[in-house]
């Protein structure tokens, strides 16, 4: 599935769950009113790409109202900081006309039929799709609940439903007035309205959507009461750690656990697929026990290459033709004949996610069922993987989703790596809940990195210095190859996540060709906040900047001249430039200013970075960002996500770099894998373009432009054109 393509096809359309959707009472009992929405597959196909079309979603339940006047909203996406509790609840509360204070959120159970991501066809969070796929679905859920409350009130008061008004959780008519809670039981008896009878608000009627005053619903994070996987406590629970091989692909040949087993607190030591598990009363005992293990590894199939060696091989590959990912015209011939050409080679290291909560998962296996507690991001995929491992039905795998301490991609593992590891341990201890905990070292050295890549970009130029032909060659590992998602994401040898961002870009260049060399390397790789755009936006935006400077044209003007057919990128770029004082505000001596614009996950972001340079060191002082993400459901969260996306991308621009020597990861913890700290954080201003279009992605699109904006600012300040990340001045 190509998320960008999806968004491109639906840029002005709401992801609508369709005409034949209807509502019915799901569990009306004493708990109060629970509403479900049934979706027809055909209706979804109308709005979504073919990949989602055939999923039968029979019964979704998003809203319950209890007599104590609580409106509980079931959140089908993982809350990992991106604000889905708040954003999705806002959609319901808006149409329900609830009082924001009466709203509580909880993670929905894993139930693909009810809670599929409408852009993925399975339950899961990713690709910055949470709001985009839920916006209409959850507004309808809110509107339907309101209709049932109104209907109940009309019956009780013997008045026409049309004359009843609802506002801030109060239902009223003339002298009558009552709360949702007081109506909850009666409302549950009402016939659910047909979906096409629901009248949703127009944007000018929004009171919560777009409001600056809706506080987040993922509460308890300022006082330590929020519960993450690491905090789950269950009676009789044990803690497990695993000794993994130092090289990827190695297996246990033999081990001696006698010293570990003699260690106080250690309960069991056994081999599992991924290494040697040490199960103990607590984390410290497990860790100390692990230190006492004697393990001999079979490295006959291990990856033993160094990252430097790999990157050299990638650079060599750039001199040969790759598989064609995109072709317009005959760029190769035009480039061969061109008298004026520019060519740049780019390099990108492996990156760890380094989310603050290291990988972990709590699992309990009981007979023919299992129960798990963790920050579950790939709900359907994880559930199916566990069911397959245990030989049980997916519905016998109960997953309780808790907050995730960051994710940035790591928690959505296509192989369910850490989830299966936890289950493999737990099934050796039937009925006992086991908390698998990875140390920071385990997490950083455990693979599933953003792959390393090399790119070569070339352009043929006309007499004005504008590109007439463009070619990109990319070399690096495929994220999707070998996963269950390969069938969906890889076609004709092209993993879209390797090339997205360089394919289908917005600049108007008549002849274009994008080629890919997919390399075979035994280092596990995975998506990392904004996926392929982490590298493609960098080479694209640095390259365009180099062309502008080569032509002696202002970089904003140069871009705008190539974006005449793209009003959206034009508007976003202009807004960022204007707010940054581009061309109007003088910078102090020794400073430079750079810009980048990129569209990903359906949203366009432009960023202007200002850097100060002293010798060969520099600081990013200020970033001005502009975003068009459609309707900003919660502007404060949109700004927070843009700030966070910039910080995450800036960390990689400035210092993140994971290297391997002879197959062994060189970094282990935050002392040698340096990430952005407060003292390097620039001032950030985020400007949101007003929009009435359907919401598009927010979690990721702020990341791609920051590294190129900074590199371009350094070129402005020093004349040095940096093409390797992290950025280092000579």
């Amino acid at each position: 599935m190509n998320i960008n393509r999806f968004f491109a096809n639906t840029a002005n359309a709401n992801v609508d769950t369709g005409r034949r959707t209807f509502l019915k009472v799901a569990t009306a009992g004493s708990a109060g009113l629970t509403l479900g929405i049934s979706l027809s597959a055909g209706a979804q196909a109308q709005a979504t790409a073919a990949s989602v079309a055939d999923t039968a979603l029979e019964y979704n339940a998003f809203v319950s109202i209890t007599p104590d006047n609580t409106v509980r909203i079931y959140i089908k996406h993982l809350e990992m900081g991106q604000g889905v509790y708040t954003g999705l609840a806002t959609c319901v509360a808006e149409e329900l006309d609830a009082d924001w204070a009466q709203i509580v959120c909880e993670h929905a159970p894993v139930d693909t039929a009810k809670y599929a991501n409408l852009l993925m066809g399975q339950q899961g969070t990713g690709g910055s799709t949470a709001m985009a796929n839920s916006f209409m679905q959850l507004r309808r859920a809110g509107a339907a609940a309101k209709a049932m409350l109104v209907s109940a009130a009309a019956q009780r008061w013997q008045v026409s439903a049309d004359e009843i008004s609802v506002r801030d959780g109060v239902v009223s008519h003339g002298s009558h007035s009552t709360t949702f809670g007081e109506l909850a039981m009666d409302a549950a008896q009402q016939t659910p309205p047909a979906n096409d009878s629901l009248v949703l608000k127009t944007p000018d009627q929004f009171r919560l959507i777009g409001s600056e005053s809706t506080l987040r619903k993922d509460v308890g994070k300022h006082d330590g009461t929020a519960i993450y996987t690491q905090d789950v406590q269950l009676p009789g629970m044990l803690t497990a750690v695993v000794a993994h091989a130092p090289r990827f692909g190695a297996r246990v040949r033999s081990f001696d656990a006698s010293a570990a087993l003699a260690r106080k607190g250690v309960r069991q030591v056994f081999e599992i697929d991924t290494g040697i598990a040490v199960v103990a009363d607590d984390y410290w005992s497990a860790t100390k026990g692990r230190e006492l293990l004697q393990i001999e590894w079979d490295e006959s199939r291990a990856e033993t290459r160094s990252s430097n060696t790999l990157l050299q091989q990638y650079r060599d590959l750039l001199d040969t033709e790759g598989a064609i990912a995109e072709q317009h015209g005959n760029a190769t011939a035009t480039l061969a004949d061109a008298s004026d050409k520019v060519e740049l080679v780019f390099e990108f290291p492996y990156l760890a996610h380094a989310q603050m909560e290291p990988v972990n998962c709590v699992a309990q296996v009981k007979g023919n069922s299992a129960e798990l507690w963790y920050g579950c991001q790939s709900a359907t995929g994880d559930q199916m993987a566990v069911a397959q491992l245990l030989g049980v039905q997916p519905q016998d795998v109960k997953i309780n989703t808790v907050f995730a301490g960051g994710g940035f991609g790591r928690r959505a593992n296509p192989m369910a790596d850490y989830v299966l590891e936890a289950v493999r341990i737990a099934r050796q201890l039937p009925d006992t809940p086991v908390k698998l905990v990875w140390s920071r070292e385990d997490d950083m050295q455990g693979g599933f990195y953003r792959p390393a890549y090399a790119h070569k970009l070339s352009a043929a130029l006309n007499s004005q210095g504008k590109p007439t032909a463009f070619q990109a060659r990319i070399a690096g590992q495929s994220i999707m190859a070998g996963t269950s998602m390969a069938a969906m994401m890889v076609s004709n040898g092209i993993d879209n996540t390797s090339v997205e961002g360089l394919t289908e870009f917005s600049y108007d260049i008549p002849e274009r060709r994008v080629e890919l060399h997919t390399t075979e390397v035994g280092i596990p790789v995975q998506w990392w906040r904004s996926v392929g755009n982490t590298h493609t936006a960098f080479s694209k935006e640095v390259f365009i900047d180099a062309l502008a400077r080569n032509a002696g044209i202002d970089p904003v003007e140069y871009r705008l001249s190539l974006l005449a057919n793209n009003p959206r990128e034009t508007a976003v770029l202009k807004l960022a430039a204007e707010k940054a004082g581009w061309g109007t505000k003088e910078l102090p001596a020794g400073w430079g200013r750079g810009v980048a614009v990129h569209t990903s996950f359906g949203s366009t972001v432009a960023e202007v970075a200002e850097v100060s340079v002293q010798g060969n060191s520099f600081k990013v002082e200020r970033v001005v960002a502009a975003i068009d993400c459609g309707i900003a459901v919660n502007p404060s969260i949109v700004r927070a996500q843009v700030e966070g996306a910039i910080a995450y991308g800036l960390s990689a621009a400035l210092q993140d770099e994971l290297t391997l020597t002879d197959g062994i990861v060189d970094q282990s913890n935050f002392h040698n894998y340096q990430v952005l700290r407060m003292n390097a954080m620039p001032v950030i201003e985020t400007h949101i373009l007003p929009s009435t279009n359907a919401p598009s992605g927010v979690g990721e699109p702020g990341t791609p432009p920051i590294a190129p904006a900074v590199a371009n600012a350094l070129a402005d300040a020093t004349g040095q054109r940096l093409t390797r990340l992290p950025l280092k001045l000579a």
């Binding site: 300022h222 690491q230 984390y283 410290w284 603050m356 301490g405 905990v437 700030e643 954080m681």
Partner: protein, 158 residues
């Protein structure tokens, strides 16, 4: 061997090895889970708690060295500075994933208890030991300033 720890004003007996980091005694044995594990080597600040009022990384402090000290975890925070920090955190909507925020709140509170009018440089110096991968740094900084301002106003009114 048994150790007696004074946590949030209450004494807790626990029988663990003296080299166990205080973090794990607090989390695994006493079930104060607000204090987080992030790195285990005093690099990220997620495990920050107060020892006699000083922000301390509990992931490298042996239990044996925490005896006879006043230990405050996020669960026991109650000072005016703490209240000002926590209310600013809510007002400015600081947390994203929130995993590092207990440590951020502990470090910010300790800073304000020492310095009720910190400059940007003071804040950077006090807070750069606390990593936030969500990038909430701008709001943390604004939150500390808001809390300082609230404390000043409250002090002026008293």
């Amino acid at each position: 061997m048994p150790y007696t720890l004074t946590i949030n004003g209450q004494q807790h007996e626990l029988d663990v090895d003296g080299d166990m980091p205080l973090l794990w005694a607090v989390r695994d044995h006493l079930k104060f889970t607000g204090t987080k594990f992030g790195c285990g080597m005093a690099q990220c600040g997620a495990c920050t708690l107060h020892i006699d009022g000083v922000a301390t990384r509990s992931c490298v402090l042996p239990v044996a060295d925490a005896v006879d000290k006043n230990i405050t975890t996020i669960e026991g925070l109650a000072s005016p500075a703490a209240q000002a920090v926590q209310s600013a955190w809510v007002e400015l909507q600081v947390p994203q994933c929130g995993y590092c925020q207990s440590g951020q709140v502990m470090s910010a509170t300790a800073l304000l208890e020492q310095n009720n009018a910190p400059s940007d440089a003071d804040i950077d110096a006090a807070m750069s030991g606390n990593i936030c991968r969500c990038g909430t740094y701008p709001r943390i900084k604004a939150g500390i300033k808001m809390a300082a301002s609230q404390m000043k106003n409250a002090g002026g009114a008293a």
